[in-house]
Symmetry: C2
Subunit: 392 residues, 2 copies
């Protein structure tokens, strides 16, 4: 349950989201723990850094270890040793982006209506029908079917706090007609997901029930986005996600859509801008009324030796962060920490590690190297969100 | 400076070793941080687990990042964020085991006296002369010369607490004559190392000076071992190491030598059994009078999903530990921790991670998986040493 508190002069919405695993001040960032672990980190480190909530992936956990096993072992929180809230995506995005070969889009009656569609990113061997989406496992090629109902069941079995419904996530190259078809199907699936979810949780004994989002699709077409949002709002979701903007679109094209979403989505529901993004883009998006964010960038870049360093305000020139690659030879003998003003384990006063040491570890393929860059980048994101919440 | 306190009924020597970075109760185990990091762990985790001292490698640090850089940045302790004692090996073992192609053993006057020698493990392109040992970098093939003096200089530049002199470490397949030659050269090099070390530290302003060990070689020949030990004792080292027993010898063959060393090495100096070994072997060795141990097993096995689990005393049948591979399919759905009696971060009460979760992480190549197995195995070793020190 989201409580809108106030809008700051800079446009940032201050609020609070209550879940079965605690209250979250918004806006917030969710580190990504795809298979039940935020890469290279331990849950106690995430707690120490002030991570409030994690994101995990329905698609991956369904395939391995399987949501039934997770349920038998007490749910995802217990499984991964994390007692704060967890959000899972619907798996739709992974189905489309991790599939292989050609896709086939079927008609509502399961007749194939389109081949070689751009509804997917990688020409996936993904068959979309009215019923749901059939896909091959990225692990072993086995066939699986995700329906809107099945995806709700998986997430309820995982026992997460915030669920996403199955949606159709078109590539940035999709034609206008393909995007329209994706939106229509997303809306019909959202309705089925909502109904199934309501039925499943009506007898739930949880004091605070899990939350289900609607996902707004529609590419870069404002009319389609507006239509999708209005249809979803009729279904009265607990919150709303804005999908399809972190796929392969040019960043500059998306702000009009984000602004529109900030204007038309209900004020008293949390808004989640899926998969976005860089610290700079998160800053912009909060000012356009977005509350929730996730992105693999801080952890993925860290594993490639790249760290975010905050610029001095007078040097920002539009960008508040500089991306520094510690494998650059100029850091080989650099005795300074990554960022003197940073409070992470890698930088902190008294125990900070030199860039020379971290680059030595990275060159030597030592795990501690990417652990330290990961802790640094995540700390930067979490600190950014703290600052945005206090930016009045 | 070692202080012998008492010998327990089971033969274990209780003592205390004072270094510039603190006092160490003996016997102790040193986790191995080859290039300045104990693989996958952070220094604060090692402290938390009660690691008292780490081992690092002269050979690796000399090649990368270079001891001069480490010195400029304030020494190895500061470089790696570890304020407790550090021991470095001499690099001799790595020179012989990481070299390539054929070795050439030269006469004292640098004439090649032997080719295809078994003095090395891998038929290294290593040229041994009276002066020292020439080798090729495992990183880039560049040529380098280690002399007894140079190796002391490197370790003093690193600023470590306990130093090893350059020795000749023959393979287990070496002939009697080769072992004899290795011993003679080791003794001559030890003398040069001792003299150079004394000269270098005589003006040191450190309240507590670094400690230099003599390394006893001699393969499985008791007479040669005795001879080597006696010659080294004449040089009055600060402590004594027993080398060459963790190479490729059968474990059962080595106990006679360890027992002999326990009997003839000075009671008032610490004894370091290099590279040994399994928990069971460490238990035996402490009872034969050894005080210091290092081994890559706990960290290396952990990265291969293998964890040490203490057996119940009635089930021990000679071995106190069972090695469990968490990738075994029977752990896939096992909700229990690795060892309920273990106090490590992976097992501990309230936050312990199930074998199912850890095996899921290992299958998914998630770093947290091997971090948890590493913490577990190191904790088992460190706890074993605590128990041995209190085993009266």
């Amino acid at each position: 349950m989201y409580k809108f508190i106030k809008k700051l002069d800079n446009g940032i919405r201050i609020g609070e989201l209550e879940t079965a695993h605690g209250k979250l001040p918004t806006p917030f960032f969710m580190p990504v723990g795809t298979v039940g672990s935020v890469k290279s980190t331990a849950p106690w480190e995430l707690e120490e850094m002030g991570a409030q909530i994690l994101l995990s992936n329905t698609y991956h956990l369904y395939l391995r270890p399987g949501e039934q096993l997770v349920k038998e072992l007490g749910g995802l929180h217990k499984f991964m040793g994390w007692n704060r809230p967890i959000l899972t995506d619907s798996g739709g995005y992974q189905v489309f982006s991790l599939g292989e070969n050609k896709s086939k889009v079927k008609s509502p009656k399961s007749k194939v209506i389109k081949e070689n569609s751009h509804l997917n990113l990688k020409e996936s061997l993904v068959k979309i029908s009215e019923d749901g989406v059939e896909f091959k496992s990225f692990l072993d090629g086995s066939k699986h079917l995700f329906t809107p109902e099945k995806v709700i069941d998986i997430q309820l079995d995982l026992g997460v706090d915030i669920l996403m419904p199955l949606d159709v996530c078109p590539s940035g190259k999709a034609s206008a007609r393909e995007v329209k078809e994706a939106v229509e199907l997303t809306i019909r699936w959202a309705k089925r997901a909502r109904e199934h979810f309501n039925k499943r949780i009506q007898n739930s004994e949880l004091r605070i029930k899990p939350l289900l989002h609607g996902i707004v699709q529609g590419g870069l077409d404002p009319e389609l986005r507006k239509y999708c949002a209005e249809e979803l709002i009729k279904l009265d979701f607990d919150g709303y996600s804005v999908g399809g903007l972190a796929v392969d679109l040019e960043t500059r094209d998306m702000w009009g859509i984000v602004k529109l979403m900030g204007e038309i989505l209900p004020e008293n529901k949390q808004r989640y801008l899926m998969g976005v993004g860089t610290p700079d883009n998160i800053i912009i998006a909060t000012k356009l009324g977005m509350d929730m964010f996730d992105c693999v960038l801080p952890t993925r870049l860290a594993r490639h030796a790249s760290v975010f360093v905050k610029r001095h305000p007078e040097q920002s020139e539009g960008s508040h962060y500089q991306l520094v690659n510690l494998l650059n030879s100029k850091y080989r003998a650099d005795g300074g920490v990554i960022d003197q003003k940073c409070g992470c384990r890698a930088c902190q006063e008294g125990r900070g590690f030199s860039k020379a040491y971290i680059s030595h570890l990275l060159r030597s393929n030592e795990i501690l190297g990417l652990r330290l860059t990961t802790l640094h980048n995540l700390w930067q994101y979490l600190e950014l969100m703290r600052n945005l919440r206090n930016s009045d």
